[in-house]
Amino acid sequence: MPPIARRHLREHLFDIATRSHTSLGDPHVNAPNTARANAARLAALALLGVIGVGGLAYSATRGTGANDATPIPDTTVSPTVGPTTVPVTVLQPPPPTAAPTTTTEPVPGSADTPLLLPEQRRPLDELTVVRRALGGSSLLLRAPDLSTIALRERDGVAPPPPSPPSTDAAGEPLPTIPPRIVGTMEVVQGDAGMYDVAVPCGSLEIRERPDVEPFRPELVQLLSAMSLDGGAINIPLPEGWGVIGAGPSTDEFTFGLPIEIGGNDVTVRLAQFPDGNLAVAGFGSGQYSPTTFLGQPAWISRDLDEPDHLEVIGMVGTTAYRVGADGIATTELEAVMESLVPGDIDEWITRFGAIPPATDPDIRLCAQQPEFAVTAV
């Protein structure tokens, strides 16, 4: 079955099942409303009445000292006028013993409910879970020119030896871009704004704005400051540099929520990283600047090539998020986020299906696994 149809149908069925289950409840276990049952109820009521009257009469004959072991609040009414009467003891109801109903509101971004989910079960445009890269971590830096540079390291085996150069039809080797040595780092340039740095084990990727010349001064300044000490990637931050976020790789839960804004269909894409950090949420070529979103400090990115596109990274509790859409205002994006409700991983699994298993990189043959060591100069 096509995955989208499969997911939509699952959502639809889950919705039907949940609604019917909650509106009708579980099968009743009450006694049936038959003549026999009604007679039994009447008999039980009569018996209670007899016991109650008998108890009152017994109490009256024993006076208020009927139960010395359990003092009863003095509720004896002493008549002041009228004919001679027998004092009447009114039994007080026992204090409530049932635990008070203290349903705690789920807290967004908490350990119990780390995710935000659409309240109504509705078809989603996109749905993915990317498991954390074990031993991986990210770093999001701000350069002195206020541009953003993202770094990500991942554990793994030693990189394979370079493959022989490709050849053309005549067997002549095709030209390749040789690695560039910056400081002590060996850097291979990929597509615009993408760089791979050689490390003994695993990988180290750098992402920055794609619309600038390769190896621009800020990048060279950063690379020149970096050094490798075994697996440790030492980054003494040069003057004027700052850390926006840093932390280990975490699971990523993403959905695309279709909404309508001003008659246009818009898909809001929300990626959530429970126990995450801004660096893992913001890894990429996005250029972030500080803002306030949902009343909290956050970082906003507007792509120069796609001015319609808006993206925000921030934290809700301990969950990092990245939310974005085309053709949407910040306030509208906030309204969408505010319409979501806290949920847990189990709810995600129940609604959308099992999450893939985390893969453990085989690091046994390579001891010097990469690790960021950032220090301020």
Partner: protein, 175 residues
Amino acid sequence: MSGPVAARLYDDHVDAIYGYVARRLGPELAVEVVAEVFEQALRTHERRSAKATDRGWLLALATALLRRHGATECRRLENWAAEHGTASSTPRDPLLPAGDAGDTEIAVAMRAAAELDPVDRDLLFLAAWEHCSTSEAAEATGLTPAAVRTRMNAIRKELKRLAVAGRHRDAGYDA
């Protein structure tokens, strides 16, 4: 049925049910029918037999819905047979790829299946494509296992007869 139970039932069986329906009706109609199968399952789960397995029960719901689309299915089988070759009286070209020869044989079988009684067609596809055991096929069609065995024997004979008749017809002989 609670949401999580429904979700688990769906996850465990949607692929099998979709495969069964799609093989018989095609992928376009299959999504719609599968949706109906699971909606019916939610509505009628309290009435299902305690002995029925989940798979057998869902296949039974699917089979009942497939019967509404009998004409579509027969048309599809005929079209498939027409597209994938016909039995020919001419000797098979030894250089012909094996797949083509297989297609021709399957085309004869498909055409024959289209001519079967609807219940027999259900049994044939449940056994041949879904690898249902006798008891599962019985659950899915509402027959007893003994009746399934009897009918399967009859189906084999009938298919053989229809296949031979089909080859003769394609070759220009009277059936």
